[in-house]
């Protein structure tokens, strides 16, 4: 899912069934050049560095679209902001409550065992694990 070049970004969008536009390419390049965890406003700021006239609304709308198409995953680590994770394979997170930083956990660091008894008529969507940490000694 890495897309360093514009062509990679275009391929990635096409594969996901997302109509290609200039703005979406810019946003895809920010997200998929490397695994990142960014808030919508951070993404907007980064995109503006290379494409100054992308509007905030477009970034928000595009992120919603990308989420629906499973190109990114929304993380609710903090009620103040949604963090977008460009890695969509199942994995867990470490969240520093003081710095706001989000880090992926390696698969061997933590493991979830067992499956909950689901009520009838519902199906599992995903399992979210967030390990919250603080800087030592406040």
């Amino acid at each position: 899912m890495n897309a360093y070049t514009t062509d990679d970004a275009i391929a990635c969008l096409r594969k996901a069934g997302v109509p290609v536009t200039q703005q979406r390419i810019e946003i895809a390049r920010v997200l998929f050049s490397a695994p990142v965890h960014m808030s919508a406003d951070q993404i907007w700021a980064t995109v503006k560095a290379t494409a100054p006239d992308v509007s905030r609304a477009t970034v928000y709308n595009t992120l919603r679209l990308f989420t629906e198409k499973h190109l990114v995953r929304e993380l609710f680590v903090d009620p103040q902001r949604i963090v977008y994770d460009s890695t969509t394979t199942p994995h867990f997170h470490l969240y520093n409550m003081d710095t706001g930083e989000v880090r992926d956990l390696a698969a061997d660091e933590i493991e979830v065992i067992g499956a909950p008894r689901l009520p009838a008529g519902v199906e599992l969507e995903e399992v979210d694990v967030i390990v919250r940490v603080r800087n030592r000694s406040a």
Copy 2:
């Protein structure tokens, strides 16, 4: 931590080091009469049923205070609203994305194994597990 009566609520607040007021008693009774998962506005609506002139701001401020004193736990299941959990012992959650309902998971349903390698200078605060489900067949 159950507090069905006013006296129980007062004792609970005193024990937590929270100065007792009429409004806090009402809010405590809503939260601690039984294990609940409620949003701030749901709590406000419930409190108003028996104490009509408690303001929304007081409910929000009190919930923040209760959180600091570890009388309740904040759950970030959905970016739109904070859900308050009146059970503060460690446990995990099942969240129905369609209905918004939150349910506690029993300790034998799911288990987390292993501990992440923490960066130097940080300490573990808590581990949050949220199992997200959807109603079958959209």
